[in-house]
């Protein structure tokens, strides 16, 4: 299998009041195409920084990050935005839908930035929302939806530009266990359809669904557990 994303000697150092915090400290990690990885660790272990780096929201201090074979650690802000837009899909713990936009409009946001024609974007957002079981909710605003429905909208939005990699940050953290399971099932299904899935969580039940669990500690990989 080929690597969709790969960190090589990845280090991220934050200056903090005269001292340095090594949030990532020489990480080497490969994500194969179509793999399902959970990243775990206590707070401060570096898992959020890892997610930000993988999501092209932050840049490495040293080392390289290859996304789809391309070294993105040398890209400027605009190119990083394009990478996020085309190759990555984000699912957040707090859903992060834009409150004054409807379900369909929220799903269309990444397509607008990709320059997709409005009529085409509408077609696709309707298809994605239907696929997420949001029929009859197209023109609702986020506040009119349940948590599970909001997260489904967020997942539909993450799929808008058909990304290679889905990044989920505690996707079930704000949901009850039953809805959480539904959301995990949706994500898992997307993974079986070939999308690379990376889930950051502190919940062992969530991590149990992944093929592989990477446990972080103090900016380093403590251990990697492969599921048989």
């Amino acid at each position: 299998m080929s690597a969709v994303a790969e960190l090589c000697a990845a280090t991220r150092i934050y200056p903090m009041g005269g001292t340095e915090v090594r949030a990532l400290d020489g990480i080497d990690l490969r994500f194969e195409a179509g793999s399902y990885t959970a990243i775990m660790g206590a707070s401060g272990s570096g898992k959020s920084t890892m997610l930000n780096i993988l999501g092209c929201l932050d840049r490495l201090t040293t080392g390289r990050y290859l996304l789809g074979g391309r070294d993105v650690s040398v890209l400027d802000d605009d190119d990083l935005s394009a990478e996020r837009n085309r190759r990555l899909g984000f699912v957040f713990q707090a859903y992060n839908l834009i409150p004054h936009l409807t379900v369909l409009e929220n799903i269309e946001v990444p397509m607008e930035y990709a320059g997709v024609a409005p009529s085409q974007a509408r077609e696709r957002s309707v298809a994605l929302a239907s696929r997420m079981g949001l029929q009859g909710r197209f023109d609702h605003r986020p506040t009119e939806l349940s948590g599970g429905q909001q997260q489904r909208v967020a997942i539909a939005r993450s799929l808008a530009n058909d990304p290679m990699v889905l990044l989920a940050d505690e996707p079930t953290g704000n949901l009850d266990s039953r809805t959480g399971k539904e959301i995990l099932a949706v994500l898992e299904e997307l993974n079986t359809q070939g999308r690379t899935l990376i889930v950051v969580t502190h919940d062992a039940h969530v991590a149990a669904h992944a093929d592989r669990t990477v446990v972080m500690l103090d900016g380093r990989i403590q251990r990697v557990e492969e599921r048989a």
Binding site: G55, S81, R86, N96, I98, P99, P110, Y113, A114, R157
Partner: protein, 423 residues
């Protein structure tokens, strides 16, 4: 993203906070409205003044006799004849010595009671010659104006100003009738169209022809001599004024030749009337002064407008900065979904521009209505020029861009990671 989509999104977001948006743009609304309204009033006043001066004739220069201040004469006998003003030899002198003039026409005014049948009114007899009608731009309603032959033969004929004709004759056609003016009778040969210069006007600047009776200069000379009797509250006084007015028409209308004639006339008057009993008025200079004072007014106004729009702009900027803080999370999300900094800048800039342009449009509406209401209520002339509308509107749009840039740049400069973490 298309510009249209950008603005429709901006509108949506502003509509979400209607009251706040409205309050935010009030500064721009008042700024734009006051610019348009004040320019309209200024322009109206200026045009009014220019018209008034233009009616005097743009190629004319006016010399008027001015009664000297009484203080010098105060102690002297009231029966003494007060002698001042333009002389007949001045007219001859002007015609002979001032270059660049086409003609010079004299006028002499005597206050009288005029009477026809039962009706009697106070009016002014104006002795003049045939050319006066052309020089003073008088229009005939019927009959004819005075002719050179009237003057030579000292004929007892007269031409009535519009107000005089209407007051003395109600139903009768005045032409052909005889009226009494003072102690003499005159046959009416013509009547003038209304000029409507207004009653006030600038003293000595015309505006009298409506209420005058024109008779030949020669006839006036023969009947009245050079002394004019004034009866005021029982005491009587005499004035000796040969001519009240000389209207000089320059050969050319262009500014420099008018200025030359004006200079020559001033030198002439200064040497012959050092006591200051003759005043020179040059309508073209007055028009220029009116334009100049309008220019100054416009500059002052522009400063006031700039200040008020500056204040309005700061108000908008203030709210937009608050909005950026409020929507930090949204900015982070949009950045994560692929928005470039330029996308964020245009999103917030679109909102600011939309705010200020909407404010500008509302301001324009008020700015157009205010002068109309002002004219309706006070009768003062106002003129709304397309220039003022364009100016006010483009300034308001500019304010949106200028004061929107900083908040938009702040929004775009946010670190996506930080912005996403913010509650």
């Amino acid at each position: 993203m298309t510009t249209r989509r950008l603005f429709s999104l901006a509108w949506k977001s502003l509509w979400l906070h209607r009251l706040r948006s409205l309050l935010t743009v009030l500064g721009i609304v008042f700024g734009v409205a006051s610019v348009v309204a004040m320019l309209a009033i200024g322009e109206g006043a200026s045009e009014e003044a220019q018209d008034q001066f233009r009616r005097l004739g743009t190629r004319n220069l006016l010399l008027a006799s001015v009664k000297p201040p009484l203080s010098e004469e105060a102690g002297e006998s009231a029966s003494r004849v007060l002698r001042y003003g333009l002389l007949r030899k001045d007219l001859v002198g002007i015609r002979a010595t001032i270059p660049g003039i086409r003609r010079a026409v004299a006028r002499r005014d005597i206050p009288v009671q005029a009477r026809f049948g039962e009706r009697e009114i106070a009016t002014v007899l104006m002795g003049t010659t045939a050319e006066y009608a052309e020089v003073a731009n008088l229009r005939l309603l019927s009959g004819r104006f005075l002719m050179p032959s009237d003057d030579h033969a000292h004929k007892a004929v007269c031409v009535l100003g519009d107000a005089v004709a209407r007051k003395l004759f109600r139903a009768v056609d005045p032409v052909g009738q005889e009226i009494r003016a003072g102690t003499d009778y005159f046959r009416v040969v013509g009547m003038l169209a209304e000029r409507g210069e207004g009653t006030g006007g600038t003293a000595g600047l015309g505006g009298e022809s409506d209420n005058a009776i024109f008779i030949p200069m020669g006839t006036m000379q023969e009947r009245h001599g050079d002394n004019i009797r004034h009866v005021t509250s029982g005491s009587r006084s005499y004035e000796n004024v040969q001519l009240h007015r000389i209207t000089v028409e320059a050969a050319s209308e262009d500014e420099s030749s008018i200025a030359q004639v004006g200079g020559a006339l001033r030198a002439f008057v200064e040497s012959r009337h050092p006591k200051g009993d003759v005043r020179i008025t040059v309508p073209q200079e007055l028009i220029r002064q009116a334009k100049e004072s309008k220019r100054i007014f416009t500059v002052v106004l522009a400063c006031i407008a700039a200040i008020s729009l500056l204040v309005g702009g700061i108000g908008i900027m203030n709210i937009m900065l608050a909005t950026v803080v409020e929507r930090t999370r949204e900015i982070g999300v949009r950045r994560a979904l692929g928005a470039r900094r330029a996308n964020i800048v245009s999103q917030f800039l679109a909102e600011t521009v939309l705010l200020s342009v909407t404010g500008g449009l509302i301001g324009l509406a008020f700015g157009v209505l205010a002068p109309l209401a002002f004219t309706y209520l006070s009768g003062v002339r106002t003129v709304i020029t397309p220039f003022s509308l364009g100016l006010a509107f483009s300034i308001s749009a500019l304010v949106g861009v200028v004061f929107g840039l900083y908040p938009a740049a702040r929004a775009a400069g946010l670190d996506p990671v930080e912005a996403l973490r913010r509650e």
